[in-house]
């Protein structure tokens, strides 16, 4: 098979010892080169993991290698590790151990392989240097290591974990306290990851919100994998935390921008439709009128038709004024928000339409005790109140005087404004989707234009809020704005 030929070629070029991992029978095949490098012949040693761990591998490396190896074998988690192996003369040789992901990309092997690349060290280059690099790497990448020992029921942290989590050096980490290392909303995730890793040996690699001893929250990447003992039982979990707060916060910010842009885009699309539709109705009237003028011979009738142009042009003007108002909202939302007192905004509106309120015997009742003010564009607040109040009066119930209740409140972390009336109500079954549409009116009033609620919705949404409506015919209507 070509695949195999390629593979064999690569193996030759690597000129290195390797193990082939077999599932059935469950054993490793050690390559000839592996024996050769270490100076052994096949008779000298027993080619299995237990013998290797016990007799050939340096004691310092045994535990980490065992975990790495079993994880690789059972969960296909690739690894790299420096190990020292005792050769035939009884000296230790340094190797870089690596797995399938070291293979060139176009070569795929069906079997799992562990390579042993020999590293020739200068005499004074010792492991101490490795330790220095490790420390340097940990600090530069803000990556702390940790380890939980199930048998001793103890947890260990390295210096960087202490630093990241802001605990004093004499603090003793423990599984019992581990909930404190994560924010409340992430504790379940942390518990799940640990439990699955401890019980089923499933490694984890996830983004999670952690908490320092000073309750500062930050985003971390948490990676963990199980550790095994000689009889291949899980005896602990080893892993790292990397502080990725900067990156994650940027990502979240970016996602927010994307959402905002998507929202704006959809409003723009909607607006394009409105423009197209609203202008078309006038231009098509104009075109029909021109046809009629051309078709008619009677000069007097012609003259009369020309007057119609005036009507169409005035309608067109009104439409364009409405469109202008909408465009203004889209550009205004960059205006600075200032503190707006509901009481003051309402007073301004009520004073402005006092004539309308008095004529209709309307009663405007307000309660702003729970939430007195909000950061908003004052003109919008006034426009929103004006539209909703005048609507309530315009569409009052024929049998009773209008009563309008305005209330602000806080629910959870959200702020709300509720305006309810006792008017004639809107048939929600028929008009649910159309209430906030442009030029949609639901009543027979002569002065119904169908622009007010459309503008209100646009203003609320341009300030990142939402508006909802509840209504029962003959009972009244309630608008709820979430800021």
């Amino acid at each position: 098979m070509l695949q195999n030929e390629l593979f064999n070629k690569v193996m030759q070029e690597f000129n290195t010892g390797y193990w082939e991992l077999r599932g059935d029978p469950y054993r490793e095949i050690w390559s000839d080169r592996f024996y050769e490098i270490l100076g052994y012949s096949k008779k000298d040693i027993q080619s299995d993991l237990d013998f290797f761990l016990e007799n050939l591998l340096h004691k310092e490396d045994v535990e980490v290698f065992r975990d790495n190896f079993l994880n690789y074998k059972n969960n296909q988690v690739n690894f790299k590790q420096h190990i020292k192996i005792r050769n035939h003369q009884g000296n230790y040789q340094l190797f870089r151990c690596a797995t399938n992901n070291e293979l060139p990309v176009n070569i795929k092997s069906e079997v799992s392989i562990v390579f042993f690349f020999e590293i020739k060290l200068e005499p004074d280059q010792t492991i101490k240097k490795d330790n220095f690099y490790y420390k340097e790497t940990a600090q530069m990448t803000a990556t702390g290591s940790w380890y939980v020992d199930f048998q001793k029921k103890e947890s260990y942290w390295d210096f960087e974990t202490y630093r990241i989590l802001e605990y004093p050096d004499d603090y003793i980490p423990s599984l019992k306290d581990s909930a404190n290392y994560y924010t409340e909303d992430c504790r379940q995730l942390a518990a799940d990851c640990f439990f699955k890793c401890a019980m089923a040996g499933t490694p984890f690699n996830t983004e999670i919100k952690m908490m320092t001893s000073t309750k500062r929250e930050f985003w971390a990447r948490a990676i963990g994998k199980p550790m095994y003992n000689e009889s291949k039982e899980i005896i602990g979990i080893r892993g790292v935390f990397q502080d990725i707060d900067d990156i994650k916060r940027k990502e979240i910010k970016l996602q927010k921008s994307v959402d905002i842009i998507a929202g704006q885009n959809s409003r723009l699309f909607n607006f394009a439709h409105i423009v197209s539709h609203n202008l078309r109705s006038h231009t098509s009237n104009l075109s029909l009128l021109v046809q009629l003028i051309e078709d008619i011979d009677e000069p007097k009738e012609k003259e009369e038709l020309i007057k119609e142009v005036k009507t169409i042009s005035s309608n067109l003007n009104t439409t364009i004024e409405h469109l202008n108002e909408i465009v203004t909202i889209q550009t205004n939302n960059k205006q600075e928000r200032v503190s707006v007192k509901f009481k003051d905004a309402l007073k301004l509106v009520v004073d402005g339409i006092s004539h309308m309120i008095n004529n209709s015997h309307a009663l405007v009742d307000s309660d702003f005790s729970e939430l007195k003010e909000i950061k908003y564009i004052p003109a919008y607040m006034e426009s929103i109140l004006l539209n909703l109040i005048t609507n309530a009066i315009k569409y009052k119930h024929p049998d009773r005087d209008p009563i309008i209740n305005i209330k602000t409140y806080i629910e959870g972390k959200k702020k709300y404004l509720k305006i309810s009336d006792n008017g004639r109500g809107i048939d929600m079954r028929l008009f649910k989707d159309k209430i906030f549409g442009m030029y949609k009116t639901f009543h027979y009033n002569e002065d119904a234009v169908g622009i007010g609620l459309f503008l209100t919705k646009n203003q609320v949404e341009s300030m990142d809020g939402t508006i909802k409506v509840e209504s029962v015919v003959d009972e009244g209507t309630t608008f709820i704005i979430e800021f």
Binding site: S284, N285, L288, E308, H443
Partner: protein
């Protein structure tokens, strides 16, 4: 030309458009009687009233229906009208006449069997004449 159309019906809230079509129909003498309703609700009330007094004379032969209207729009009228249309004892041809060029509207309209065709405003005088001569 066959029998001239007796009664035509326009359901549209755009008074300018309605006036213009009215003038064309009068000038070209396209039908004897023209009914105008400014929204779907008024039109529906009229059709329901016919069902109770069965005044054959006033049943339209042809309807021109707008989509965007206050109170009851063209879609809602279509849904209500489709339920009762078979009880009039004659075929009523229905055209949607709208300035909406939204492909979704056009597709939706053509999927409703009550609708003979979807006309996009502006309609031309020639178009109107040929529709009246076909019906």
């Amino acid at each position: 030309m066959g029998d001239k159309i007796g009664v035509a019906c326009i359901i549209d809230d755009d008074s300018v458009y309605v006036n213009l079509v009215k003038r064309i129909i009068e000038a070209k003498q396209l039908c004897k009687n023209l009914l105008v309703f400014e929204n779907g609700k008024n039109a529906l009330n009229f059709f329901e009233a016919i069902l109770t007094n069965m005044n054959q004379e006033s049943i339209p032969d042809i309807i021109f229906l707008d989509l965007n209207m206050p109170v009851m729009d063209g879609w809602e009228f279509l849904a209500q009208f489709t339920r009762i249309k078979n009880r009039f004892g004659k075929i009523i041809t229905l055209y949607i006449v709208s300035s909406s060029i939204n492909p979704l509207d056009i597709k939706k309209a053509k999927s409703i069997s009550t609708v003979t065709d979807y006309l996009i405003k502006p309609i031309t005088i020639t178009e109107l004449e040929s529709i009246f001569s076909m019906a």
